[in-house]
């Protein structure tokens, strides 16, 4: 990546307070052009507040934010031209159909009829062709989500923010959506993603910031974050049998006869198997699993992973 390029997003010492509540405490973050960046954190971590500041929907109490070199307060028009935001909430205008709404949205950004071919491409890529003339009110939740994503893309913004874009959507849409977003990323668009699905962040994001209580507690490439946890997990399927008590200190989680043990060293596998043999427990299946982003998340944030704890702040 060419480091001389203007950063896609530059956040400097951002503070945001709502009365006595300090939602953001001095966030510093630079996202380079072309990155696929993940913003993770539990509820109340400040992810949506930060995104709302990027989008100009909230004013920072202190600090500066620039999108493609344009300050979001002083040069808000240029900054907003460079940004497409997919809100978390399923909001829509009930008076219009999908195509009308997308044309209006493009028009707000100064795009005219010359943009219609791109609008059609977005409609097609998001599987909305059959619904292009359907009123927004009559769309299913998944279709409304697609339309929201389309709205954020109609002006071809170089920086795209997706705030929980796959919350509550089916597998088909999720795959279609990620294929399209990856294509946009390959075409040079910078993608910033917040998601409750850590597997998605692990698969898609080159770099990840983890937030907790208004601060960034980890910021690194996904690979580096994963390598910081040297341990692996041993997943044992034991059927009806219980885990021997000697192995309980290693237990990470267990339900329905499947137990996951956290290993700090590989020779603990031998110990675990010998304890199971001693207790006459039959092992039906066994898997050695690498630590994932959820493990990193839990070790850094010290809380339950967000997919078990939904209801994040809304845009």
């Amino acid at each position: 990546m060419d480091k001389k390029l203007t950063p896609a997003v530059k956040i400097e010492k951002i503070h945001k307070s709502f009365g006595q509540l300090h939602a953001l405490n001095g966030i510093d973050l630079t996202i380079e052009q072309g990155e696929f960046f993940g913003l993770l954190g539990p509820n109340g971590a400040g992810k949506s507040t930060l995104i709302n500041i990027l989008a100009g929907l909230l004013k920072p109490t202190q600090g500066k934010v620039a999108i493609m070199g344009h300050d979001v307060v002083d040069s808000y028009q240029a900054a907003r031209m460079s940004l497409g935001v997919v809100p978390q909430e399923l909001v829509f205008d009930p008076f219009f159909n999908v195509r009308e709404m997308l044309r209006f949205q493009a028009g707000y950004f100064g795009r005219g009829r010359e943009n219609d071919a791109w609008v059609d491409e977005v409609i097609e890529n998001l599987g909305l062709t059959d619904k292009a003339h359907t009123n927004m009110r009559k769309l299913s939740g998944g279709m409304k989500r697609r339309a929201l994503i389309a709205q954020a893309l109609v002006h071809k913004p170089p920086v795209i923010v997706l705030d929980e874009p796959t919350a509550g959507v089916d597998v088909e849409l999720r795959q279609m959506l990620w294929a399209f977003i990856k294509k946009l990323n390959n075409d040079g668009h910078t993608i910033i993603l917040t998601t409750h699905y850590l597997e998605e962040a692990e698969t898609l994001c080159e770099r990840v910031a983890m937030m907790k209580q208004g601060e960034i507690v980890a910021l690194d490439t996904t690979a580096n974050l994963l390598s910081k946890l040297p341990g692996k997990n041993l997943r044992l399927t034991l059927g009806q049998a219980n885990l021997p008590s000697t192995l309980l200190p290693m237990l990470k989680n267990g339900e329905n006869g499947i137990f996951t043990l956290a290993l700090t060293e590989l020779n603990q596998i031998e110990y675990a198997l010998s304890e199971l043999r001693k207790a006459n427990v039959n092992v039906q299946d066994m898997q050695l699993i690498e630590a994932d982003l959820e493990d990193v998340f839990m070790s850094l944030v010290g809380e339950q992973a967000p997919q078990q704890n939904q209801q994040a702040g809304a845009l």
Partner: protein
């Protein structure tokens, strides 16, 4: 609507103003999609007022010499509907999009606070004119109505709809729920219009209520508008013009200040 929908006007707008024009166009489509509610219904209501009041009072009231009561009533009803609908357009659109969350689609764009104001105001003026002049064109089939000063008619229609459209923007931004919006409509707009001389001349009131009426900006809008039809009014149209323009500038300043600060829109 076909001209607005087509390429003709779109192609003439520069990219800097296309956002404003699009927002204006969207606001027009919004009320046109529900035209029975936003245009036909107020036209019918006003014509019912005309039918009932003129039937009951025609032989009992003569406000201006040589002007039948039915004719006197029409400009008042036209202006009352024009004002109420200009207010309803901007206020209901804003409060609805705030409650539904769809206001975010406009807030995320490069449209400036002044452009936002212009787009909402222009749409409010158009709806006011559409409703007001629909009533006029239906009413003149039944009543012989002269026009003495057409320019004054246009000036007061424009200033009045702009004033109420601006007031609607303020009310829409301020209101967090439909109930608050309804309070504006029922406890401010409705009493001020009914007590402004739509159905009577303030000279028919006792001196105290005549004095009170002069604090009502709606009185100046309706009196000035009526002057355009009959060349007669309760006060000079120039005084009405100054008062209405002053109110408009004051409210426009307040609305722009609210929009610039992001009051209740951008925290």
């Amino acid at each position: 609507m076909s001209i607005i929908n087509g390429n003709l006007i779109d192609g003439l707008i520069s990219p800097q103003w296309r956002g404003t024009y699009t927002l204006f166009k969207k606001e027009l489509f919004r009320f046109w999609r529900v035209a029975f509610q936003t245009v036909a219904s107020p036209v019918l209501t006003s014509l019912l007022y005309l039918l009932i009041f003129s039937h009951v009072l025609e032989n009992h009231v003569q406000v201006y010499k040589g002007v039948p009561y039915k004719a006197f009533l029409i400009p008042g009803l036209v202006m009352m509907s024009l004002l109420q609908n200009a207010f309803a357009n901007s206020s209901s659109s804003l409060v609805q999009s705030k409650i539904m969350g769809s206001i975010v689609f406009v807030l995320l764009t490069p449209i400036s606070y002044a452009q936002f104001f212009i787009a909402f105001l222009a749409a409010a003026i158009i709806r006011g004119f559409l409703v007001g002049f629909s009533i006029y064109f239906v009413a003149i089939w039944f009543v012989d109505l002269s026009i003495v000063h057409p320019l004054w008619i246009f000036v007061f229609a424009l200033l009045g709809s702009a004033l109420l459209g601006t007031f609607g923007i303020i009310a829409g931004i301020w209101s967090d729920k439909f109930d608050q919006m309804a309070a504006f409509q029922n406890f401010v707009i409705m009493p001020l219009t009914f007590l402004s001389g739509v159905f009577y001349s303030i000279h028919s009131l006792p001196p105290f209520w005549q004095a009170v009426s002069k604090f009502n900006p709606f009185f100046y809008m309706i009196d000035g508008f009526r002057y355009g039809f009959f060349g007669q009014s309760d006060i000079s149209p120039w005084l009405s013009f100054v008062v209405v323009l002053s109110f408009l500038l004051g409210l426009a300043w307040l609305a722009l200040k609210m929009l610039k600060s992001g009051y209740k829109l951008r925290a």
